[in-house]
């Protein structure tokens, strides 16, 4: 269904959704005897917000780990920007322009907000070890450029007041925001968010939703997000993949998925809140 429409289109709110950025073809992931993902295919299009939903243990996080290179699929192919991706280590995937956040926040607790976001730009820094060690002019110029980019992100996420605070001391909601900032700092082609709103209160959830929409809208960033909160997913995303027990049971715009019987049975039918 989704593969047929390759030409770009404009959404109701005026954003342009382009061609396919990533295509996952028949992905299967096994851990010993356990099958976490069973033969799943779907694509991600430029500029869209693509959600992956499903009950606990459905394999959503595993899927995200396959995309970000933390897991290597047992079978199947990952196509990125029209090329088949060979087996890669996570840091190589990151260097290709795929940034991510984690379900259980993975920040550098001892470093300040500023430094944390600065690490997000590591893939964009070019100066070699030697000139860095000697702090030569080029490295210094680069540092200044990156600082500017990082300051923009800090302004954007409204976290100026915690620039110098070690992130270990920040409340949960702000930590999640810093983590998003670090991922954004890489100016990613594809941004993966693993339950960006998990464990947040209503106000924090609203803030985060707004930031996700703004990122997508202002920078045109393609976003894949995993979420538990059905309401949030339906509001945010352009298209939704529904997973259950490692299988794909639905794929399409929120309104369509919402009325899919299999989805209702497997996910919406079970009271979750």
């Amino acid at each position: 269904m989704s593969m047929a429409s390759v030409e770009s289109y404009v959404t109701e709110d005026g954003r342009t959704i382009g061609g396919v950025v990533m295509e996952l073809k028949n992905i299967t992931l096994r851990f010993g005897g356990v099958v976490a993902i069973k033969d799943i295919s779907f694509d991600i299009r430029e500029g869209e917000i693509r959600a992956i939903i499903g009950p606990n243990g459905a394999g959503k996080s595993s899927m995200l780990n396959v995309i970000s290179g933390f897991y290597t699929p047992t079978e199947g192919e990952v196509w990125f920007e029209g090329k088949r991706r060979p087996q890669m280590r996570p840091y190589q995937v990151a260097q290709q322009g795929i940034a991510r956040t984690f379900q259980n926040i993975a920040l550098f607790a001892g470093m300040s907000t500023l430094d944390n976001i600065m690490t997000g730009r590591i893939t964009r820094m070019k100066s070699g070890l030697f000139s860095q060690a000697l702090w030569m002019g080029k490295a210094e110029r680069e540092e200044t450029e990156h600082r500017e980019a990082v300051e923009k992100i800090i302004d954007f996420l409204e976290i100026q007041h915690i620039r110098k605070t070690p992130v270990g001391r920040l409340p949960y909601g702000l930590q999640k925001r810093v983590e998003l900032g670090r991922a954004l700092a890489a100016e990613p082609r594809l941004l993966l968010l693993d339950e960006p709103m998990a464990g947040m209160n209503v106000e924090e959830k609203e803030d985060m939703s707004r930031f996700i929409l703004d990122v997508n809208d202002e920078f045109g960033t393609t976003i894949v997000l995993i979420e538990h909160d059905m309401g949030v997913v339906m509001d945010l995303s352009d298209r939704v993949v529904v997973m259950d027990y490692g299988k794909k049971i639905g794929d399409g715009p929120p309104a369509e998925v919402r009325n899919n019987k299999e989805v209702i049975d497997a996910y919406l039918g079970v009271s979750h809140d």
């Binding site: 970000s68 933390f70 280590r89 996570p90 840091y91 190589q92 990151a94 260097q95 940034a99 991510r100 984690f102 993975a106 920040l107 550098f108 607790a109 001892g110 470093m111 430094d115 600065m118 690490t119 997000g120 590591i122 893939t123 820094m125 100066s127 070890l129 860095q132 060690a133 702090w135 490295a139 540092e143 270990g168 670090r182 991922a183 890489a186």
Partner: protein, 331 residues
Amino acid sequence: MPDQFLFAVEVMINGLMAGVLYALVALGFVLIFKASGIFNYAQGVLALFAALTLVGLQNGQIPFAHLINAAFGTKVHYFGWTMPTFLAIALTIVVMVLLAIAIERFILKHLVNQEPIILFMATIGLAYFLEGLGDVMWGADVKTLDVGLPQGASEWIEDRSAVLGGDGFYGFFIDKLDIVAALVAAVLVISLTLFSQYSKQGRALRAVADDHQAALSVGISLRFIWVLVWSIAGIVALVAGIMWGAKSGVQFSLSLIALKALPVLMLGGFTSIPGAIVGGLIIGVGEKLFEFTIGQMIGGATENWFAYVLALVFLVFRPQGLFGEKIIERV
């Protein structure tokens, strides 16, 4: 000024100088601990191995000479040339970097995501392997290391300071080598701190120390960082090896100086570069002053245990050390 006071000052200055040498060894520990959470038991042996390699290269020793002679019945020991110090140091650095690559490839790579205690055990194994390798490569005899550093008392300081006291005071006795060691340590600490705070690799290094997963997700190669950090630790070990070797000869007991670094780390904190320096200085001064004041009353030889007792006190009252990050366990 009363002579007794001046003697105390002299003891203190010498304590500071000794402390610098402790700090040099502790520095290597801190670097690896910061970047990988591993307590590297092999750091002392690394200093020994570096010093052995440096002396061997300088004197044109043939590596594995005993092994070769035993296997082929030859009698080779030396190439017959001596290498300029500068070149020998450069080559030793190359050897230390190669060693770092080998450590990553043969040990660390296979222990990713293991408990720190397992990595610690691996470094114990590494320590004994390196000690054996050093023995087989360069021989077990005590060697003198001469890299052209000034030695002996600084007469300049002695003459200038003699006027401070009375007839019984001949001025401060300070070893020139200790002064050089202090300068080298200062340069090392400043450059390492700048490197870790402000460079891309330094930032990556701190990132890896904090969270492996997150580091990977921003595009940092763990393997590269480990090689980098072990290379730097190897080079710091070389500096420590040169200073200690020049002071007391290159011998296998050099690997035991690692033990003295332990209390230094407990004082300064395992994660702080400036902490290693301050910890080293406190222990150096503390043990000399203690010996000078209380030691005389209780029969002396307090230098052997003073540092450890001080470390114990710190473990009870401030386990993270003076500058270490406070250990917060979230449950």
